[in-house]
């Protein structure tokens, strides 16, 4: 009995440590799960915002809009012969 006792104590300690480790990893995993969810939401929101801004930029730089604004400012397409091409 006295020979078995130390082994038994060591076994209990190992099992306890393993149990605590298991619980800790599970808790961490759940915590990370929450973080991933949160980050996913942020990512998704930023992606949408980015897309919205890109679309806004496209709408603002649409050729018909630019042409309209340029026309009001007195800009017109250059006529033939008015363009001189310079090469790099």
């Amino acid at each position: 009995m006295s020979k078995i006792k130390p082994y038994f104590i060591v076994l209990v300690i190992i099992l306890t440590v393993l149990g605590i480790f298991y619980v800790w990893t599970t808790m961490e995993s759940i915590k990370l799960g929450y973080n991933i969810t949160k980050l996913n939401n942020i990512k998704s929101k930023l992606e949408h915002k980015h897309k919205e801004l890109l679309i806004k930029k496209t709408a603002l730089s649409s050729p018909s809009r630019i042409y309209g604004i340029a026309g009001k400012m007195g800009f017109i397409y250059p006529k033939e012969g008015e363009i001189i091409m310079v090469h790099d």
Partner: protein, 671 residues
């Protein structure tokens, strides 16, 4: 006492053991019941409580122009909905909602009084309105975000793009044809959630979201599309045409650079237009091509050895009768003309007589080789294949009529494929509009390649036909497309429109077309403009369609930086360019900057780059430029003879121009 305690020890242990055994047995049996007997059912119940299937709605893919500018995209737009049963103080809240949304008070009251759990107040509102409504905190009012297809360029390319209806399904154009690529796949994702309903992503549960739709890149150049649409619209309105379309293409690759239709519509509000506005005439409509058919028939006749460019044909002064039909020319001044002149002045009689030199089957085969009567398969919705009557139904005078474009129907895309073959040296090429398709993870799943179908005419014959088409623009019927800096080749066409009921031609309804390419010898652009039933200005292709081609070419060549040849203006590189006055030009050859040996150099100091270059045009130098702003140095001194000079170096700098004398004073003061 102790003795009694000791004697009963065994008994007490036994009782304790029995109690433990009973409770242990009960626990084990309960555990057995929970884990084994009821295990599956309970597991299912637990799963239902903590696991959930979340359905991610895929985002519809975007459509881009060739340089990656968005043409169509989906955005989440807020809308205002209510659960009428949950809304209290209906009169007061209806008033608030009416003020914020602009919907009438009576209409909102009607919605709030319905005995349902969901109803829309307004499906699309601005972000600000949504925020304002949210701030009010009205119970039962909810802000719902839902994807809406948006076309940020408005009417630009509307007929090609099409539009999307409810349920995110394409209803027309690219949106319809490539719906299965654009739409993506709805996907259910298994997740765990806590008591508050928050999702927890943990090991063993996938992170994959819905497969978003693929992104489609078109060959369309946004700038070229705009100018094509702009000038087509302008000329079609001026000519009061019932409809019109234009196609701009790279004749060397088959890539469609622009495709415009008149009248246009805004796909953001497609429901406000009648269906006839949605049609992409450039691909769905076939028409009698009229004289634009002539270069194709002449190329075939040259290939078969039936005529040569200088073969003289009697054009009977513009009136020619055979087998019950009479062919007329626009003017009666055609006598005996060469094949070159027949094309240049667009003689129907001459072309009819060339057509009659073919055997029927021979001409039929040539039409087929050019692609007439076959679907072009350019990747667009509703591509028509035109009409070529079966050989058995050709009358004796069929080749005569078809040679000048009557009794045959073609589509715009077919003509462009044929025109490109003439432009690129004789190879039929497949037009295409889809440049590539990229999936949601950035992987290219389809990439277009230029596809030469076959060579149908030799390069010698090609050069001869190109020259004939050059004559058309230079001095023939297509002069309105002439440019100063570039040589354009083209062919006009004026086709009569047949009455579908009687089969006879209307006397005053025409299709006016013009097809052309530029630069003449080594074309970079090919274009077709077709106006349907123009009623003002005129009805000839050369009068109403050629100006569109001219304006588009003029601007497109600048946009694409295609060099016209002539003077060589070079921006000086840091390392210094080696200038011999030889520059490669768009026409493929080299342009030697010729020297004006009698010129005397002007003083250019203080000029801007543009002012200096404008003056130097007459000297025909190679000009080397460095810096920007105002000119402060010119390598050829003012007043000197430029006879032996090949290159002039000009230096510019920003800020106010100082005359050399002032500069010296400034330097002295500095010292």
């Amino acid at each position: 006492m102790i003795r009694v305690w000791k004697t009963t020890l065994k008994l007490r242990m036994l009782i304790g053991f029995i109690v433990i055994l009973i409770f242990g047995g009960l626990l084990i049996s309960r555990a057995f019941d929970l884990q084994i007997i009821e295990g599956q059912r309970l597991k299912m119940l637990a799963r239902e409580q903590f696991r959930a299937n979340v359905y991610f709605t895929p985002e519809r893919g975007n459509i881009y122009s060739s340089n990656g500018s968005i043409l169509a995209a989906s955005v989440n737009v807020p809308g205002i909905a209510v659960d009428p049963l949950m809304v209290g103080h209906k009169l007061r809240n209806a008033e608030k909602l009416s003020k914020l949304t602009g919907i009438s008070y009576a209409k909102i009251i009607k919605i709030l009084n319905r005995r349902i759990q969901f109803a829309w107040i307004k499906k699309r509102v601005s972000g600000q309105t949504a925020k304002d409504v949210e701030k009010q905190g009205i119970g039962g009012v909810i802000i719902v975000k839902q994807p809406v297809r948006y076309y940020p360029n408005g009417t630009l390319l509307a007929h090609v793009l099409g539009f999307v209806g409810i349920n995110d399904n394409g209803l027309s154009g690219i949106e319809y044809k490539y719906n299965k690529f654009l739409k993506g796949n709805k996907r259910a994702l298994k997740v765990l959630h806590d008591g508050l309903g928050q999702y927890i992503f943990i090991r063993g549960f996938g992170l994959k979201k819905a497969t978003h739709g693929d992104n489609i890149y078109l060959t369309i150049n946004k700038q070229l599309q705009f100018i094509t649409q702009y000038y087509l619209d302008k000329e079609a309105k001026a000519a009061d045409s019932k409809g019109a379309f234009a196609i701009l293409m790279d004749p060397n690759t088959g890539a469609i650079l622009a495709m415009a239709d008149y009248p246009d519509f805004n796909p953001n509000y497609y429901w406000k237009y009648s269906a006839r506005y949605w049609r992409n005439r450039a691909v769905t409509d076939d028409f009698e091509p009229g004289s634009t058919m002539k270069p194709f028939v002449v190329a075939a006749a040259l290939s078969e050895g039936l005529v040569k460019p200088d073969t003289v044909i009697n054009c009977y002064h513009g009136i020619y009768s055979l087998d019950g039909i009479t062919v007329h020319d626009v003017e009666n001044w055609f006598g005996r003309f060469s094949v070159n002149q027949i094309v240049e002045y667009s003689s129907n009689v001459g072309e009819c007589r060339i057509g009659m030199k073919f055997k029927k089957s021979q001409l039929y085969n040539w039409f087929s080789l050019w692609g007439f009567g076959h679907t072009p398969h350019a990747g667009l919705l509703g591509e028509a294949k035109g009409i070529i009557r079966p050989l058995s139904k050709w009358s004796e005078v069929g080749p005569c009529e078809m040679a000048f474009g009557q009794g045959i129907s073609v589509t715009g895309l077919q003509e462009m494929a044929g025109l490109s073959a003439i432009a690129n040296g004789g190879r039929i090429i497949k037009p295409y509009i889809i440049k590539k398709i990229v999936n949601a993870y950035g992987k290219v799943i389809y990439k277009a390649k230029s596809k030469y179908l076959k060579r149908i005419i030799t390069s010698r014959i090609d050069k001869e036909v190109k020259y004939m088409m050059r004559l058309v623009v230079k001095g023939g019927t297509g002069q309105y497309s002439n440019l100063i800096d570039f040589k354009v080749s083209g062919k006009t066409g004026t086709g009569q429109i047949a009455d579908p009921k009687t089969g006879k031609y209307y006397k005053n309804r025409y299709t006016a077309s013009f097809m052309a390419f530029v630069p003449y010898k080594h074309p970079e652009l090919a274009m077709l403009v077709v106006q349907q039933e123009p009623s003002k200005i005129g009805y000839y292709g050369g009068a109403v369609s050629a100006p569109v081609v001219r304006s588009v070419f003029q601007n497109a060549l600048n946009i694409l930086n295609i060099y016209p040849g002539g003077n060589a203006y070079i921006k000086q590189s840091k390392t210094g360019a080696d200038l011999n006055g030889n520059l490669s030009t768009a026409s493929g050859g080299t342009e030697n900057a010729s020297i004006n040996d009698s010129g005397v150099m002007q003083d250019l100091k203080g000029d801007t780059i543009y002012q200096a270059l404008k003056i130097l045009k007459k000297y025909k130098f190679a000009v080397k430029i460095s810096g920007s702003g105002y000119l402060y140095y010119q390598s050829i001194k003012p007043g000197t003879n430029t006879g032996n000079e090949k290159v002039i170096v000009l230096k510019f700098r920003p800020g106010k121009y100082y005359a050399p004398a002032n500069l010296k004073i400034a330097k002295k003061n500095k010292k």
